[in-house]
């Protein structure tokens, strides 16, 4: 089942006790599902086992390799709730992921509330995944080794690139 993945900031969602049914904080809504031109950016993956594709798409366009939290919601959920989706080219250095970018468009107050509630449910169902910076580097490393991405296309610092290069040249011990 296809999913739409988006980066969020866990700390903002846990400002209130959403596990006990408290409302989502304003900070979570205004920061993590902040729209531009009533649009939210997401990345489409075919199922939860392909989460690394979303991680790759998100990380490859970033300036820093920072730990982030990722949620993913069913595409069906959006279609059933009459959300409008638009496939627009994504900002990623991984060419084969460019077309996996999906904008949720024509959002309004009510729809944003629905998205917020769905994300809160993800927390309750323990489906929010924290992706550490080591995991991000491993995902990038794998993409580089498979020639899906050139390290020089990444917008991260030279020192970070060196770290990834070193990982590429060094096979980890079996563990």
């Amino acid at each position: 089942m296809a999913l739409l993945a988006r980066r969020i900031d866990k700390a903002l969602w846990l400002q209130t006790d959403i596990f006990k049914g408290e409302d989502v904080s304003a900070d979570a809504i205004t920061n993590c599902i902040k729209t531009k031109k009533n649009t939210l950016s997401t990345w489409k993956i075919k199922d939860s086992s392909s989460i690394n594709e979303a991680i790759l798409a998100l990380a490859s366009g970033a300036n820093h390799i920072d730990t982030f939290d990722i949620i993913y919601l069913d595409v069906d959920f959006f279609e059933n709730k009459n959300f409008k989706l638009d496939f627009t080219p994504g900002m990623t250095s991984v060419k084969d992921l460019v077309e996996t970018h999906v904008d949720i468009i024509n959002l309004d107050y009510k729809k944003l509330g629905i998205i917020a509630s769905s994300i809160a449910e993800q927390f309750i169902n323990n489906k929010v995944r924290r992706v550490t910076n080591l995991e991000i580097r491993k995902v990038l490393k794998e993409a580089i080794e498979k020639n899906r991405l050139s390290i020089e296309d990444l917008k991260i610092s030279d020192a970070s690139k060196e770290k990834i290069k070193k990982m590429c040249h060094q096979a980890p011990s079996a563990s």
Binding site: A11, L12, L14, L58, H64, D66, T67, F68, T132, K163
Partner: protein
Amino acid sequence: MFKKSIPKFIIYDQKYDQNFLNIDNQDIYSINGHKYESNYFKVNQKSTESTNDTVLRESYESFKNHNKEKIIDALLLNDFEYGYNSTSEFIIQSLFKENSIFTKDLLNDIFISNFDNKIIIIGLLKTIAHFEYTDISPIGPTMALAALSYSDPEVQECGIRAYENWGHADSLKVLNKIKCEQEWLSQYINQVIEILEEELIIYGTTCTKN
């Protein structure tokens, strides 16, 4: 925020006897820049102070006056998003290139003076987490440690993130000794400890700069 106005006393041509033990703190160059800034005395002419000290203090004062509000405004107005540059980061990076010593002192000053302002503290921590450990030490790890004992979990998280990003062996020493009340933070600390151990052992390297 309405600030209470405190009378300032500025003294002209006052000579202070150097034999007074440390009363004027002539031996230190405090985070206040001027040794009297936290005192109601302000000395205009310090006859017992060496010329170099005077130049150093005045240079820092000038640097601070030029840049403190700029940094604070950027921290307050910026939207920080993990993984992306921020305006305050550009400003601080550029000041760092200009004068890393003064910049660190100024960051220390801003951190302490605004310790009750979560927005500023989080902004500072997110910014310094992107510096190399050796460049931002010792003030960076000092701030991160202070963050770990902050009452707000968001601030605590920023401290952990900084240690994760620095990936220094020091990070492991600290994180192994920290206990957080919030379960998700404890889990995060454990995650980071595992990562650092893995990186140091398997890769022989850590993420020092992002």
